[in-house]
Assembly symmetry: C2
Homo-oligomer: 254 residues x 2
DNA sequence: GATTGTGAAACGCTTCACAGCT
DNA sequence: AGCTGTGAAGCGTTTCACAATC
């Protein structure tokens, strides 16, 4: 029994808040860009602007990782890249399978951002026999009959589902049964998974609907725009938050 | 003058919390499925399970929209579908342009979830002259030289950016200059936009990195799994949250 | 008896503001 | 003088628990 916590108090893994975890990849991207330009150090202010968050939040986030900065100076770029990579588990190689090689699956297979972050597309899987053997992004597509074997042979623990909605749950079940414990779901369905499996989902249509909501509001609000006067109008909001990142990611501890 | 709030107290548009707005599409999807099966009413418990949230949250969410349920009975499915659609602005037609017709852009163009939700792909735009005229998802690709004209002619206010990272900001600037006020960004960059423009972003690699973080933790935690005994092990977590939905969407009021 | 709608408590995240270090 | 690291306050969200309603 040990601690006896049945449904986990909330997902804060070893003291790092989920909201912070969700931003680490953002910082990492900004830092990588700085690193490529051979910038040696950054202040929280500069890095925050590059990542699109505010500096107090960034400093608080980093404080959960440890004291990696130098007061009066800033953060060492290379050192931070390493620390964040390590924290995210990107110093190791993650074999990933993509199931469902339609337009989206192909796009994912071709996406450069994976390889550069420690993710390796170990296999592409599709249910269509006509696809079998056909190379996509230089990787031959394999038939879904062999899904279990592929997972086991490659030691895959992360699976990406890019199938139509109807196929997602069966595919998910097979992935999990074969040993996958993290799933990124692009199919517009709620997946049921056993305890210990994490699911994250990306739903393209949902994002558009949220935009439509705000867009609709704008149309019905032709006043605040006109009365503030002209001057401070077209200023860019460089450091504002954007997108579904100020997450409460709710990674399903399941 | 009016209220005099300069930088918006936080993005709660007309009393509906952002977190709630982000879940409305989820409820809508579940309700649509029930509607297709001709289910007349649902309880908060049932609908919550179908949407992957808990029922208290769902009831609270609906309470912001009004009192649309009947105590002792539940919610009328058709009525709720209508109310949520209206709230999200989906009863009107939203012309959308997709810029960058690579693998991802093509996948988006072919994605069925748009059309069924009031979104209409008004145009596909790409910078490659070789693509011009080529039909993708039945829509001929147009050259980006004509971007401004396309936006204006079609009255487009929502743009989707699926270009490489380097092209995203220039494309964004042109979209905004031409009148687009909501942007869904798939390029791995932070976009700067003027006030009044909303940006949401979807970053495939970030989602995987978050999964990797949790995956790494699992590997170093071989104890809670083994000692709880066998019985209650393989139970499905049907109603748990999943993915980046328990959002604080942080739609950039910009 | 069942189920909604909602105050109030609990929780986690963000922001402030400044002490502490270089 | 400059910038980090962080307690404490402020806010928004979730959850609880029960009165109101059918």
């Amino acid at each position: 029994m040990a601690t006896g916590r049945t449904h986990r108090p909330a997902t804060r893994s070893r003291g790092i808040p989920e909201a912070t975890v969700a931003r680490l990849p953002l910082y990492l991207r900004a830092l990588t860009a700085l690193s490529e330009r051979s910038v040696p150090t950054v202040s929280s202010e500069e890095l925050a602007a590059a990542a699109g968050v505010n500096s107090a939040k960034l400093r608080k986030d980093f404080s959960y990782l440890g004291s990696y900065g130098t007061r009066g100076v800033g953060y060492d770029v290379e050192y931070l890249v390493y620390q964040i990579s390590r924290e995210l588990g990107l110093t190791q190689d993650w074999p990933v399978v993509i199931v469902g090689i339609g337009n989206l699956g192909a796009a994912l297979a071709n996406y450069g951002g994976f390889a550069s972050r420690g993710f390796r597309v170990a296999a592409l899987i599709d249910a269509d026999p006509a696809m079998a053997g056909k190379p996509v992004a230089g990787i031959p597509v394999q038939h879904s009959d062999d899904l279990e074997k592929i997972i086991e042979d490659n030691g895959v623990s992360i699976g990406v589902i890019a199938t139509p909605a109807g196929a997602a749950q069966p595919v998910c079940d097979r992935l999990v049964a074969a040993g996958v414990t993290s799933i990124l779901n692009f199919a517009p369905t709620v997946l049921s998974v056993p305890d210990g499996v994490d699911v994250r989902k990306v739903d393209l249509s949902i994002e558009l609907q949220i935009l439509a909501f705000h867009e609709q509001r704008k149309a019905g609000e032709e006043h605040a725009a006109a009365d503030g006067g002209g001057p401070a109008a077209a200023t860019r909001t460089d450091s504002a938050e954007q997108g579904p990142d100020g997450d409460v990611p709710a990674v399903m501890p399941a």
